[in-house]
Symmetry: C2
Subunit: 189 residues, 2 copies
Protein backbone atom coordinates (compact mmCIF):
# COMPACT_ATOMS: atom_id res chain seq x y z
CA UNK A 1 0.00 0.00 0.00
CA UNK A 2 1.70 3.10 -1.33
CA UNK A 3 0.24 5.60 1.14
CA UNK A 4 1.36 3.44 4.07
CA UNK A 5 4.91 3.05 2.74
CA UNK A 6 5.17 6.83 2.26
CA UNK A 7 3.86 7.36 5.77
CA UNK A 8 6.42 4.91 7.19
CA UNK A 9 9.26 6.59 5.27
CA UNK A 10 8.16 10.14 6.16
CA UNK A 11 6.94 9.73 9.71
CA UNK A 12 8.30 6.42 11.00
CA UNK A 13 11.46 6.34 13.03
CA UNK A 14 13.91 3.46 12.87
CA UNK A 15 15.15 3.02 16.44
CA UNK A 16 17.48 0.13 15.63
CA UNK A 17 17.56 -2.71 13.09
CA UNK A 18 14.56 -4.34 14.79
CA UNK A 19 12.41 -1.51 16.18
CA UNK A 20 10.34 0.88 14.09
CA UNK A 21 8.37 3.64 15.79
CA UNK A 22 5.14 4.68 14.12
CA UNK A 23 3.65 6.40 17.13
CA UNK A 24 2.94 9.48 15.04
CA UNK A 25 0.01 7.86 13.21
CA UNK A 26 -0.59 4.29 14.36
CA UNK A 27 0.02 3.43 17.99
CA UNK A 28 0.08 6.51 20.17
CA UNK A 29 -1.23 9.37 18.11
CA UNK A 30 -3.90 8.26 15.62
CA UNK A 31 -4.18 9.84 12.20
CA UNK A 32 -7.90 9.28 11.65
CA UNK A 33 -8.04 9.94 7.90
CA UNK A 34 -5.05 7.71 7.30
CA UNK A 35 -6.52 4.92 9.44
CA UNK A 36 -9.71 5.17 7.42
CA UNK A 37 -7.67 4.44 4.28
CA UNK A 38 -6.13 1.45 6.07
CA UNK A 39 -9.61 0.17 6.87
CA UNK A 40 -10.73 0.61 3.26
CA UNK A 41 -7.64 -1.23 2.01
CA UNK A 42 -8.31 -4.22 4.28
CA UNK A 43 -11.84 -4.43 2.87
CA UNK A 44 -10.42 -4.31 -0.68
CA UNK A 45 -7.85 -7.04 0.07
CA UNK A 46 -10.35 -9.29 1.83
CA UNK A 47 -13.37 -8.51 -0.33
CA UNK A 48 -13.81 -12.15 -1.37
CA UNK A 49 -13.86 -13.75 2.06
CA UNK A 50 -16.73 -14.03 4.51
CA UNK A 51 -16.27 -12.00 7.67
CA UNK A 52 -18.78 -12.06 10.52
CA UNK A 53 -16.57 -10.43 13.10
CA UNK A 54 -13.19 -8.73 13.40
CA UNK A 55 -10.94 -9.87 16.24
CA UNK A 56 -7.99 -7.84 17.49
CA UNK A 57 -6.07 -7.31 20.71
CA UNK A 58 -5.79 -4.23 22.89
CA UNK A 59 -4.55 -1.57 22.56
CA UNK A 60 -2.94 -0.79 19.21
CA UNK A 61 -5.23 -3.07 17.23
CA UNK A 62 -8.43 -1.31 18.30
CA UNK A 63 -8.32 1.74 16.04
CA UNK A 64 -7.33 -0.38 13.03
CA UNK A 65 -10.11 -2.88 13.64
CA UNK A 66 -12.58 -0.04 14.13
CA UNK A 67 -11.53 1.59 10.87
CA UNK A 68 -11.94 -1.67 8.94
CA UNK A 69 -15.18 -2.73 10.65
CA UNK A 70 -17.02 0.20 9.09
CA UNK A 71 -16.30 -1.22 5.63
CA UNK A 72 -17.11 -4.82 6.57
CA UNK A 73 -20.14 -3.69 8.58
CA UNK A 74 -19.44 -6.18 11.36
CA UNK A 75 -18.70 -5.81 15.08
CA UNK A 76 -15.19 -5.75 16.52
CA UNK A 77 -14.12 -7.73 19.54
CA UNK A 78 -10.80 -6.94 21.15
CA UNK A 79 -9.01 -9.48 23.32
CA UNK A 80 -8.12 -8.18 26.76
CA UNK A 81 -4.66 -8.48 28.21
CA UNK A 82 -5.58 -7.66 31.78
CA UNK A 83 -7.96 -9.11 34.31
CA UNK A 84 -11.10 -7.05 34.23
CA UNK A 85 -14.36 -6.92 36.13
CA UNK A 86 -16.05 -6.18 32.82
CA UNK A 87 -15.06 -9.63 31.52
CA UNK A 88 -17.33 -12.61 31.91
CA UNK A 89 -16.42 -15.70 33.82
CA UNK A 90 -16.94 -17.65 30.60
CA UNK A 91 -13.92 -16.83 28.49
CA UNK A 92 -11.56 -18.20 25.87
CA UNK A 93 -7.97 -17.65 26.90
CA UNK A 94 -4.54 -18.10 25.41
CA UNK A 95 -1.02 -17.45 26.60
CA UNK A 96 1.14 -15.23 24.39
CA UNK A 97 4.86 -14.73 24.73
CA UNK A 98 6.02 -11.20 23.94
CA UNK A 99 9.60 -11.08 22.69
CA UNK A 100 9.50 -7.28 22.91
CA UNK A 101 8.64 -7.37 26.59
CA UNK A 102 10.43 -10.61 27.42
CA UNK A 103 7.43 -12.13 29.19
CA UNK A 104 4.17 -13.92 28.61
CA UNK A 105 0.69 -12.46 28.98
CA UNK A 106 -2.82 -13.81 28.57
CA UNK A 107 -5.33 -12.81 25.94
CA UNK A 108 -8.98 -13.26 26.89
CA UNK A 109 -12.22 -13.06 24.96
CA UNK A 110 -15.69 -13.58 26.40
CA UNK A 111 -17.40 -16.66 24.96
CA UNK A 112 -20.35 -14.46 24.05
CA UNK A 113 -18.42 -12.64 21.36
CA UNK A 114 -17.07 -15.41 19.14
CA UNK A 115 -19.55 -18.04 18.14
CA UNK A 116 -19.35 -21.52 16.69
CA UNK A 117 -19.06 -21.42 12.89
CA UNK A 118 -18.49 -17.68 12.57
CA UNK A 119 -15.96 -16.34 10.09
CA UNK A 120 -13.32 -14.32 11.91
CA UNK A 121 -10.87 -11.82 10.47
CA UNK A 122 -7.92 -11.05 12.74
CA UNK A 123 -6.39 -7.56 12.35
CA UNK A 124 -3.34 -6.11 14.10
CA UNK A 125 -0.81 -3.33 13.72
CA UNK A 126 2.47 -5.26 13.65
CA UNK A 127 3.55 -8.81 12.84
CA UNK A 128 6.97 -9.84 14.14
CA UNK A 129 7.26 -13.30 15.68
CA UNK A 130 3.60 -14.06 15.13
CA UNK A 131 2.85 -15.04 18.70
CA UNK A 132 -0.06 -12.61 19.15
CA UNK A 133 -1.75 -13.89 15.98
CA UNK A 134 -1.21 -17.50 17.07
CA UNK A 135 -2.78 -16.68 20.44
CA UNK A 136 -5.82 -15.12 18.74
CA UNK A 137 -6.00 -18.08 16.31
CA UNK A 138 -6.15 -20.41 19.31
CA UNK A 139 -9.10 -18.41 20.67
CA UNK A 140 -10.88 -18.68 17.30
CA UNK A 141 -10.32 -22.45 17.38
CA UNK A 142 -11.49 -22.79 20.98
CA UNK A 143 -14.74 -21.16 19.81
CA UNK A 144 -15.01 -23.60 16.87
CA UNK A 145 -15.07 -20.58 14.62
CA UNK A 146 -13.35 -20.25 11.24
CA UNK A 147 -10.25 -18.09 10.74
CA UNK A 148 -11.01 -16.42 7.39
CA UNK A 149 -7.95 -14.23 7.26
CA UNK A 150 -5.28 -12.26 9.07
CA UNK A 151 -4.58 -8.64 8.11
CA UNK A 152 -1.49 -6.83 9.33
CA UNK A 153 -0.55 -3.20 8.82
CA UNK A 154 3.24 -3.60 9.08
CA UNK A 155 4.98 -6.97 8.83
CA UNK A 156 8.59 -7.23 9.92
CA UNK A 157 9.66 -9.55 7.12
CA UNK A 158 13.01 -10.18 8.79
CA UNK A 159 11.32 -11.90 11.72
CA UNK A 160 9.76 -15.33 11.57
CA UNK A 161 6.04 -14.59 12.03
CA UNK A 162 5.10 -14.13 8.39
CA UNK A 163 6.73 -17.33 7.17
CA UNK A 164 5.39 -19.28 10.15
CA UNK A 165 1.79 -18.22 9.54
CA UNK A 166 1.94 -18.63 5.74
CA UNK A 167 3.45 -22.11 6.13
CA UNK A 168 0.44 -23.03 8.26
CA UNK A 169 -1.80 -22.10 5.34
CA UNK A 170 -3.21 -18.99 7.00
CA UNK A 171 -4.64 -16.36 4.63
CA UNK A 172 -2.24 -13.65 5.77
CA UNK A 173 -2.05 -10.24 4.07
CA UNK A 174 0.22 -7.43 5.18
CA UNK A 175 -0.18 -3.90 3.85
CA UNK A 176 3.58 -3.32 4.06
CA UNK A 177 6.39 -5.82 4.55
CA UNK A 178 9.73 -4.51 5.74
CA UNK A 179 12.65 -6.74 4.77
CA UNK A 180 15.32 -4.83 6.65
CA UNK A 181 16.04 -1.68 8.62
CA UNK A 182 19.84 -1.85 8.62
CA UNK A 183 21.63 1.46 9.23
CA UNK A 184 18.34 3.30 9.61
CA UNK A 185 17.29 2.53 6.04
CA UNK A 186 13.94 0.80 5.49
CA UNK A 187 13.79 -1.75 2.69
CA UNK A 188 10.32 -2.90 1.69
CA UNK A 189 9.71 -6.30 0.08
CA UNK B 1 -28.69 10.63 24.84
CA UNK B 2 -31.73 8.47 24.23
CA UNK B 3 -30.04 5.82 22.07
CA UNK B 4 -27.35 5.31 24.71
CA UNK B 5 -29.84 4.98 27.55
CA UNK B 6 -31.82 2.39 25.56
CA UNK B 7 -28.61 0.53 24.80
CA UNK B 8 -27.65 0.51 28.51
CA UNK B 9 -31.13 -0.73 29.51
CA UNK B 10 -31.30 -3.39 26.78
CA UNK B 11 -27.71 -4.62 26.64
CA UNK B 12 -26.01 -3.48 29.83
CA UNK B 13 -25.75 -5.79 32.79
CA UNK B 14 -25.85 -4.57 36.37
CA UNK B 15 -23.35 -6.73 38.25
CA UNK B 16 -23.92 -5.06 41.60
CA UNK B 17 -24.90 -1.60 42.83
CA UNK B 18 -21.56 -0.19 41.61
CA UNK B 19 -20.58 -2.21 38.53
CA UNK B 20 -22.28 -1.97 35.13
CA UNK B 21 -21.09 -4.18 32.29
CA UNK B 22 -21.40 -2.73 28.80
CA UNK B 23 -18.97 -5.12 27.15
CA UNK B 24 -21.55 -5.88 24.47
CA UNK B 25 -21.09 -2.55 22.71
CA UNK B 26 -18.50 -0.35 24.44
CA UNK B 27 -15.52 -2.02 26.04
CA UNK B 28 -14.98 -5.53 24.73
CA UNK B 29 -17.18 -5.93 21.71
CA UNK B 30 -17.55 -2.68 19.75
CA UNK B 31 -20.80 -1.78 18.03
CA UNK B 32 -19.37 0.37 15.24
CA UNK B 33 -22.58 2.07 14.10
CA UNK B 34 -23.54 2.87 17.68
CA UNK B 35 -20.07 4.27 18.44
CA UNK B 36 -20.38 6.45 15.37
CA UNK B 37 -23.53 7.98 16.88
CA UNK B 38 -21.63 8.55 20.13
CA UNK B 39 -18.93 10.38 18.18
CA UNK B 40 -21.50 12.53 16.40
CA UNK B 41 -23.18 13.38 19.72
CA UNK B 42 -19.90 14.54 21.27
CA UNK B 43 -19.38 16.85 18.29
CA UNK B 44 -22.91 18.23 18.74
CA UNK B 45 -22.42 18.79 22.49
CA UNK B 46 -19.00 20.41 22.05
CA UNK B 47 -19.71 22.24 18.80
CA UNK B 48 -18.94 25.64 20.32
CA UNK B 49 -15.53 24.91 21.79
CA UNK B 50 -12.16 24.83 20.05
CA UNK B 51 -10.60 21.38 19.81
CA UNK B 52 -7.15 20.77 18.34
CA UNK B 53 -6.69 17.28 19.63
CA UNK B 54 -8.61 14.56 21.45
CA UNK B 55 -6.89 12.91 24.40
CA UNK B 56 -7.98 9.59 25.85
CA UNK B 57 -6.45 6.63 27.67
CA UNK B 58 -6.00 3.04 26.55
CA UNK B 59 -7.86 0.81 25.98
CA UNK B 60 -11.57 1.52 26.25
CA UNK B 61 -11.27 5.18 25.34
CA UNK B 62 -9.66 4.54 21.96
CA UNK B 63 -12.72 3.56 19.93
CA UNK B 64 -14.77 6.42 21.42
CA UNK B 65 -12.06 8.98 20.69
CA UNK B 66 -11.67 7.59 17.17
CA UNK B 67 -15.41 7.84 16.53
CA UNK B 68 -15.50 11.46 17.69
CA UNK B 69 -12.27 12.52 15.98
CA UNK B 70 -13.84 11.98 12.57
CA UNK B 71 -16.41 14.69 13.34
CA UNK B 72 -13.90 17.09 14.90
CA UNK B 73 -11.35 16.32 12.16
CA UNK B 74 -8.47 16.28 14.62
CA UNK B 75 -5.94 13.62 15.66
CA UNK B 76 -6.36 11.41 18.70
CA UNK B 77 -3.62 10.71 21.20
CA UNK B 78 -4.12 7.96 23.73
CA UNK B 79 -2.19 7.88 26.98
CA UNK B 80 -0.32 4.63 27.56
CA UNK B 81 -0.59 2.70 30.78
CA UNK B 82 2.38 0.44 30.18
CA UNK B 83 6.05 0.99 29.52
CA UNK B 84 6.58 0.75 25.79
CA UNK B 85 9.51 0.84 23.43
CA UNK B 86 7.32 2.84 21.08
CA UNK B 87 7.17 5.69 23.61
CA UNK B 88 9.65 8.52 23.52
CA UNK B 89 11.98 9.34 26.34
CA UNK B 90 10.39 12.79 26.45
CA UNK B 91 7.03 12.20 28.07
CA UNK B 92 4.39 13.76 30.29
CA UNK B 93 3.40 11.40 33.04
CA UNK B 94 0.85 11.23 35.80
CA UNK B 95 -0.02 8.73 38.48
CA UNK B 96 -3.62 7.52 38.60
CA UNK B 97 -5.20 5.53 41.38
CA UNK B 98 -7.72 2.96 40.19
CA UNK B 99 -10.37 2.19 42.80
CA UNK B 100 -11.63 -0.67 40.61
CA UNK B 101 -8.25 -2.35 40.62
CA UNK B 102 -7.12 -1.14 44.03
CA UNK B 103 -3.77 0.11 42.77
CA UNK B 104 -2.08 3.01 41.03
CA UNK B 105 -0.80 3.07 37.45
CA UNK B 106 0.97 5.65 35.32
CA UNK B 107 -0.44 7.40 32.27
CA UNK B 108 2.14 8.58 29.76
CA UNK B 109 1.96 10.81 26.69
CA UNK B 110 4.86 11.71 24.44
CA UNK B 111 5.67 15.43 24.55
CA UNK B 112 5.38 15.49 20.77
CA UNK B 113 1.64 14.94 20.83
CA UNK B 114 0.34 17.68 23.09
CA UNK B 115 1.65 21.14 22.41
CA UNK B 116 1.76 24.41 24.28
CA UNK B 117 -1.49 26.37 23.80
CA UNK B 118 -3.45 23.61 22.09
CA UNK B 119 -7.10 23.04 22.94
CA UNK B 120 -7.59 19.52 24.25
CA UNK B 121 -10.83 17.56 24.57
CA UNK B 122 -10.60 14.57 26.90
CA UNK B 123 -12.94 11.66 26.11
CA UNK B 124 -13.46 8.44 28.04
CA UNK B 125 -15.97 5.64 28.45
CA UNK B 126 -16.74 5.82 32.19
CA UNK B 127 -16.50 8.43 34.91
CA UNK B 128 -16.57 7.11 38.47
CA UNK B 129 -14.11 8.65 40.94
CA UNK B 130 -12.65 10.94 38.31
CA UNK B 131 -9.04 9.93 38.88
CA UNK B 132 -8.33 9.04 35.24
CA UNK B 133 -9.64 12.42 34.05
CA UNK B 134 -7.59 14.23 36.72
CA UNK B 135 -4.50 12.33 35.56
CA UNK B 136 -5.11 13.34 31.95
CA UNK B 137 -5.84 16.93 33.04
CA UNK B 138 -2.46 16.99 34.76
CA UNK B 139 -0.82 15.91 31.48
CA UNK B 140 -2.64 18.70 29.61
CA UNK B 141 -1.37 21.19 32.21
CA UNK B 142 2.19 19.85 32.08
CA UNK B 143 2.07 20.58 28.33
CA UNK B 144 0.76 24.13 28.98
CA UNK B 145 -2.20 23.22 26.84
CA UNK B 146 -5.81 24.22 27.46
CA UNK B 147 -8.44 21.74 28.65
CA UNK B 148 -11.46 22.70 26.51
CA UNK B 149 -13.77 20.00 27.74
CA UNK B 150 -14.26 16.51 29.08
CA UNK B 151 -16.75 14.15 27.42
CA UNK B 152 -17.85 10.93 29.11
CA UNK B 153 -20.10 8.21 27.74
CA UNK B 154 -21.41 6.88 31.07
CA UNK B 155 -21.10 8.81 34.33
CA UNK B 156 -21.71 6.97 37.57
CA UNK B 157 -23.55 9.83 39.26
CA UNK B 158 -23.45 8.04 42.60
CA UNK B 159 -19.66 8.31 42.73
CA UNK B 160 -17.76 11.49 43.38
CA UNK B 161 -16.01 12.14 40.04
CA UNK B 162 -18.71 14.22 38.38
CA UNK B 163 -19.18 16.59 41.31
CA UNK B 164 -15.43 16.86 41.85
CA UNK B 165 -14.72 17.83 38.23
CA UNK B 166 -17.70 20.21 37.92
CA UNK B 167 -16.70 21.94 41.18
CA UNK B 168 -13.29 22.58 39.63
CA UNK B 169 -15.01 24.42 36.79
CA UNK B 170 -14.25 21.77 34.19
CA UNK B 171 -16.54 21.77 31.15
CA UNK B 172 -17.74 18.20 31.74
CA UNK B 173 -20.52 16.62 29.68
CA UNK B 174 -21.73 13.06 30.12
CA UNK B 175 -23.99 11.38 27.57
CA UNK B 176 -25.71 9.38 30.30
CA UNK B 177 -25.60 9.83 34.08
CA UNK B 178 -26.65 6.91 36.24
CA UNK B 179 -27.87 7.94 39.68
CA UNK B 180 -28.28 4.45 41.09
CA UNK B 181 -28.24 0.78 40.23
CA UNK B 182 -29.87 -0.58 43.40
CA UNK B 183 -31.44 -4.03 43.09
CA UNK B 184 -30.37 -4.30 39.46
CA UNK B 185 -32.49 -1.31 38.43
CA UNK B 186 -30.78 1.55 36.58
CA UNK B 187 -31.99 5.05 37.42
CA UNK B 188 -30.81 7.80 35.10
CA UNK B 189 -30.50 11.42 36.22
Amino acid sequence: MKLLKEKIINEGKVVDSEVLKVDNFLNHQLDINFLNEIGKEFKEIFKDIKVDRILTIESSGIAIAYAAAKYFDVPVVFAKKTESRSLDEEIYESQIFSFTKGRAYKARVSKKYIKNGENILILDDFLANGRAVLGLKSIVEQASANLSGVGIVIEKGFQEGGRLLRDMGINLKSLAIIDSMEKGKIKFR
